[in-house]
Every structure is written in C-alpha cells, then in structure tokens.
C-alpha cells in the first residue's frame, strides 16, 4: 500500500466516516484497497495460486511466499493504462472456466501438472486470457527476480561493484 492510499484511508477515518468493508450486496467484493482494480478475494487468491504455479516453492521459497501475487496486482494497479487493467481483470475472470473446461474442477483443486496445462491454455483461450497470462507471467518474473530474497540470497545484486572487466573468459559450461 503506498502513501497515497494510506492517506486516503486516513482522510476517510479522520472525516468521521464509519469504516465498513466496501462489500455492498455481494460477498466480499473488494478484497484489497486497490486504486483501480476491483477484485474479489477469490480472484486475488486465484492470482496467488497462479504465481505459485509459475514459480513454485522448491528448496527455496516460491512466488506466493515472496508475495509476488501482491506485487503483480500492485503493478497492474499502478503502472498500466486503464485498457490493459481491464483486459487483465477480464482475462483473470475468464480463467476459472478454463480449469472447469479442461479438468472439471476449480484451479486450486487441480494437480500441479493440470495447473500448468491450464496456464498454457490461457495463452490461446480468449484474447483477454492471453493478455492476462502474458502480463501475469512478465510481472511474476520481474517481481521474483527483483524480490529482496532473490536479490540478496540467490542472485545477489551488487550495489557497488567497484570494477569493470571487458574480457572475462567463461568457464566451460556444464549443461
């Protein structure tokens, strides 16, 4: 949550309004306070399942534990124009149908292999699921590689290299 969102909340609270979940009639319509995206808690959870499928926990944490799902949604919310946000949300909302069609269950009930097949099918299912999946994958990659965990523990980023060598002989690669 960025400062502006916090500020908005502070203003709402400070103004003496009663702070109730913005669910209206439908069940838990807004899970998080995004500025532009309107998602249900279920849809957010699905994004969590999907990023974990893309980058699962192994002997190191997966995308879910690193909160890459939050990163993906935050980036879509903050850094993309309205039409891309809309395409992302539509594609996300059409995704459960792909799981149902292929395996007759919800995404979270599928096996890892099935989940992978579903994600692969998103590319071509509809224009929106294709757009959604492309952005999801791109942002998952960016969020993962630029996470504190990866940048400090797995592929350490050097803030201060202190050197430049233009002729580094590579060691013979082990395939």
């Amino acid at each position: 949550m960025n400062r502006r969102t916090l500020l908005k909340h502070a203003i709402i609270l400070g103004g003496g309004m009663v702070f109730i979940p913005a669910c209206g009639g439908k069940e838990e319509k807004k899970a998080s306070a995004w500025k532009h995206l309107s998602l249900t808690a279920g849809e957010e959870a699905l994004v969590g399942e999907m990023v974990e499928t893309l980058i699962p926990a192994t002997d190191t944490p997966g995308a879910k534990a690193l909160e890459i799902d939050r990163f993906v949604l935050m980036m879509v919310d903050d850094c993309y124009p309205k039409d891309q946000q809309a395409g992302f949300v539509k594609g996300l909302q059409q995704s459960p149908a792909v799981a149902e069609k292929l395996f007759h269950r919800s995404f979270d009930k599928c096996s890892t292999e099935e989940k992978i097949k579903i994600l692969q099918a998103l590319s071509t299912h509809t224009a929106e699921t294709g757009q959604f999946y492309k952005l999801l994958r791109e942002l998952t990659r960016e969020g993962y590689l630029k996470s504190k965990f990866v940048m400090t523990k797995l592929l350490p980023y050097e803030l201060v290299p202190g050197r430049y060598n233009g002729y580094v002989l590579l060691k013979q690669q082990t395939a």
């Binding site: 499928t53 850094c79 990866v150 400090t152 290299p161 233009g166």
Partner: protein
C-alpha cells in the same frame, strides 16, 4: 543577507558551478542564484543507496506520473530513482509552437546531477564549421583559444579517456580510460582495418577512474562502477556541481548560494552603460529582491538564459538585454539523436564482462564530411557504440520448477551491439524562442514559446548514419542488423543550444569572443546559449572550458578597470 557582491552567477548547473568556482577562487564575493531548492552533496541524495527491490515499482513510473508528465517521461533518466531531480510538466509550463521536449532540473546542481557525463573536446573541424560550410556566423575563437581551458577543467573535473591521437577529437588531460570489452575492441579493429578514417575509442567520461590529489581534496573518491549516477553519487565518482565546484567555491568563504531564487531580469543602468544587478523573486515568499554586482554570469541553461535576457528590457534595450540586432532567441540548435541501430554477434561466445562500465562503452567520433564535403547534407554525426553479453531467454512456455531453475541459472546468450547517432544540427533563424506576450508564470516571468524543429538536412543525415553503420556492422560480422528511427522531439537530446551566439560582429551576434554581451560588457553568457554551432560532441565540457576562460578574462578586465 547583504545585497551587493562582486559577481552574480545565475544558475548552479554545470557551467554556473564553474563560474562560481573560478570567480570565488579569484577572490570575488560571488552570489549564486538557483531557482530551485538546495541539493547538498551526500545529504540530499535520498535514493542513492537503495537496492532495486526497495523501489516500490522496481524503478518504473506509475501510470499516474506518466500521464501527468508526458514530456519528462520521455527522458530515459526520468524513473522512480531520480524523479525528484526533474521538473514535472505541470510545475513550469511553456508553449510548444512545435513539439519540443524541454527537460529541466531545477535544483542546486541543475542537470549536472543527471547528465550522461560524456566529455569530448571540440576541434577546429568544429569551430571552423560555420565559416567553411556557410551557415550561422564564424566562431570568434578557435581550438587554440580553448585548449588550455579544456585542460584546466579536465584536470579538476576528472575525465577518463585514452590519448587516441585523432585530429577530429583532440586529446586531453585524462585519467586512465575505462576499457572497451572484447566485442567493442573487435569493432574497433574492424574499423581500423576496413574503414581507415573511422575510429572507435573508449568513451571519454567525467568519472574518477584514478583520483588525483586535486580530486581527493574535493572530497571525491574513485568511481565504484555503480552506474546509478542519476541518483547522485555517494563517492563523488562523477563530476557534478554538487560534488565538485560548489563545495570548492564554498571553501573560499566568498560564496553565497541562494536557492529558491528565480531571476526575473537583469537590471541595466543607462547612465553607467552597464548592468548593475538582477531582480530576483524569492519562490517561497514571492518577495522581489534586487542584488547588485560588478559582473554577472548568466548560466541559467540555454533556453532560460535566453528568457532572462529577453525579459531584461530597458529604454536602451527594448527587445531584451544586448539585443540590438534582434537576433536574441534565434538560431537555436540541438543534437539529432533520432536514430539507432542494433545487431547481434555470434563470435566470442566464450567471453563475457564483469562489473559495470560507467563510460558506457565506445564512441565513434565524426567522420562524415570531416576533411571535405562528401555527401548531400551538411556536417556529420558522432555515435555511441556498445556491446553487452545478453542472457538467453528461457523458453517462452516454461512454467513451474523448470522455469524457476532457468531464471536462477541465467545462461549467456549472444552478444548484443548497439549504436545511437549524435548529429550536428544547423542553427537557423527559423528555429527560435520568444516570450509570450500575455501569459506569465507564478513569478511574473513571461512564458517561453518554443519554435524548434528538424529539417531535411537532419533526415538525410539520419539515412546516412543508418547506411554507414549498417555497412560497418556487416563488415564486423554482426548479424540481425536492425535500423531504428526513434521518433523524438527536439529537446529530448537535452543539448539545446544557441540564441545568444558568439561572433566577431555585433551586427550578427550577441557575444564577443570572451562571452561578453557586445552591447553590455559586464554580462557574460557561458552556458549552452552562447553556442554559435553545435558540433557533434556532448557539449558540457565545452561550456565548462568557456566558463573558466570567460571568468579569467572577467577578472583581468576588472583589474584593468574596464568593467
């Protein structure tokens, strides 16, 4: 605060910083006026030590910021880590009669915090350009006039480079160059063997590759290859006003630095026949204050220097200070950066690089129309060139453990090579800026109207750059060669120049060979506004040298009682 000084310097960027250093060292009490806020070296670099993951959007701009700042957002350095050093579009409006991306840094240090740090000397091929090729007016100086001042500023600023022995790009007083990598050297050797008048050199850049005592005395240390310069450098590894000239000037005890000070105009005294001071608006109190001095250096950055002079009207100068011939604001020129070329190289796959090169790679000095006119366009272009080892892309359909493994074990891909053109543009009367007759900014200063555009010469030059570099790339064995036109408005090169050009003749120029207004000799203009032509070199080093030379002349004239 006192109101009378020996000298006033308007602007604290790369040339204003030099004016401050030179004038205070000569013992003159000097007031430096900066329209923006203060940025103290080390203290005011809020992002300098942040890791990439500490930026909420990992360096990217939010949609909201992009939409609010279409102009600034087109600048490569306007990113999450350096946003705070750029003028936001809505803060300081101007009028684009033709599209012009005016990139500005309103703070102490100005754009010297953000510059690309490329520093090449001009040669007489450049100073003699206008007179040889029949455009603009003859420069009133030649390389020999500026050479000692180039050395003077290079030694203090710290410029890394090789002594390449090229007559198109004179050697300077250099620190050791940053090395080229194996593929850059391959391209260099290709040019040497197959294009004997074309050269690739290690880019000369204002980085302390091996600090000398004069740099340590400034409190600066060796460049640490962070290549995060736009955030401000905690080592003072690259040259900026903030790290170098301004603290040096402050140490003399003669410097008064006044941020939040917009200069409305320069005050001309008709009886004395010279300028007596400047009218300043304090941006915080909106109070108007007059400061007086014996000499005034105008270093507000090219277009704002024009604006201040245009707005400095008096009975003697109804069209702006020193503007007897009506040429003030005209003959604005810039650099043509509108083309790039990219390719791959399948050789040297057993080599890579390690660390980061702050100079960025190689530089191809101008070779076109150098010794004689050989094309159907005037002048020529320099070019950047660099090579880097790419990372091979994991299969686009990889998912799961497989993909994770690939992401965590990046394998080197092909070498990627790229170049961007830096073309000279021809100053023309039709490329001009003027003051709007009605609209004013928050300080009562008229808004600037900008009329600057490319012309046919620029398009021909761009085609030639693509043709020549395609041939040079092919000769080097590069593959998948792709030429790109990068549609960009003038201004985005951030090398706008002219409007107050130097020349021999008061009828056709504004400044004499010492950067003094012909018609008001105690006013000096030594930033980009003074440029008679643009050459192909990155201009900052030349502004620094012109400033130091002019400051020296000012002191001599003061001593003689001529000012």
């Amino acid at each position: 605060m006192q109101n009378t000084f020996d000298a006033i310097v308007i602007g604290s960027g790369i040339s204003g910083g030099w004016a401050a250093k030179e004038l205070t060292e000569k013992g003159l009490t000097t007031l430096v006026l900066e329209r923006g806020r203060d940025v103290k070296h080390l203290v005011d670099y809020p992002t300098t030590s942040l890791m990439p993951y500490e930026f909420e959007h990992r360096g990217r701009l939010t949609q909201e910021i992009q939409e609010a700042n279409p102009i600034a957002s087109r600048c490569y350095a306007f990113r999450e880590d350096a946003l705070h050093f750029f003028v936001k579009d809505a803060e300081h409006p101007y009028i684009q009669e033709k599209p012009f991306d005016w990139i500005r840094g309103y703070q102490v240090g100005g754009k010297s915090l953000l510059w690309a740090r490329q520093t090449q000397r001009w040669s007489d091929f450049d100073f003699e350009g206008p007179v040889r090729d029949g455009f603009a007016v003859d420069w009133p100086i030649r390389y020999a006039d500026l050479a000692p001042w180039y050395s003077h500023v290079e030694r203090f600023a710290g410029i890394a480079g090789n002594r390449d022995g090229l007559d198109s790009l004179p050697d300077g007083d250099f620190l050791p160059a940053w090395p080229l990598n194996i593929v850059e050297d391959h391209f260099k050797n290709t040019l040497k063997q197959k294009f004997n008048t074309r050269h690739l050199i290690s880019a000369r850049a204002a980085h302390l590759s091996q600090p000398q005592p004069i740099h340590l005395e400034q409190g600066r240390a060796k460049c640490q290859n962070r290549v995060l310069c736009q955030r401000g450098c905690p080592f003072g590894g690259y040259f900026s006003s903030n790290a170098s000239t301004l603290p040096w000037a402050a140490k003399t005890g003669k410097l008064t630095l006044r941020p939040h000070s917009v200069v409305h105009s320069i005050i001309y005294d008709e009886k004395k026949g010279k300028a007596t001071g400047v009218r300043v608006i304090d941006t915080q109190t909106k109070q108007e204050i007059v400061y007086n001095a014996r000499i005034i250096f105008v270093n507000a950055a090219a277009l704002n220097t024009n604006l201040i002079l245009l707005n400095s009207t008096s009975g003697r100068f109804p069209q702006g200070l020193g503007n007897d011939n009506g040429l003030l604001g005209k003959y604005i020129a810039f650099h043509n950066y509108s083309a790039t070329i990219s390719a791959e190289y399948e050789g040297y796959l057993n080599y890579t690089t390690d660390g980061r090169n702050p100079a960025g790679g190689g530089y191809v000095p101008r070779f076109r129309n150098l010794y004689k006119q050989e094309t159907d366009f005037l002048r020529g272009y320099a070019a950047g060139f660099n090579a880097h080892r790419s990372t091979s892309n994991p299969r686009p359909d990889a998912i799961g453990e497989d993909w994770k493994k690939q992401l965590l074990n990046p394998q080197p891909g092909l070498w990627r090579v790229g170049s961007h053109m830096m073309g000279e543009t021809i100053p023309k009367a039709t490329n001009f800026i003027a003051l709007d007759k009605e609209q004013k900014d928050d300080w009562g200063v008229p808004l600037l109207r900008v009329n600057v555009a490319y012309d046919e010469n620029d398009e021909k030059m761009r085609r030639d750059y693509h043709e020549q570099f395609t041939a040079m790339f092919a000769a080097a064995g590069f593959t998948n060669i792709k030429t790109h036109i990068t549609p960009r408005n003038p201004g985005l090169d951030i090398h706008e120049m002219g409007g107050v050009r130097m020349g021999h003749d008061p009828k056709t120029s504004l400044l004499n060979k010492w950067n003094q207004l012909h018609a008001c000799s105690n006013v000096f203009v030594t930033d980009g506004a003074c440029m008679t032509s643009t050459a192909t070199q990155n201009p900052s080093l030349t502004y620094m040298a012109l400033t130091a030379r002019a400051a020296n002349h000012a002191m001599e004239e003061l001593k003689k009682g001529n000012l």
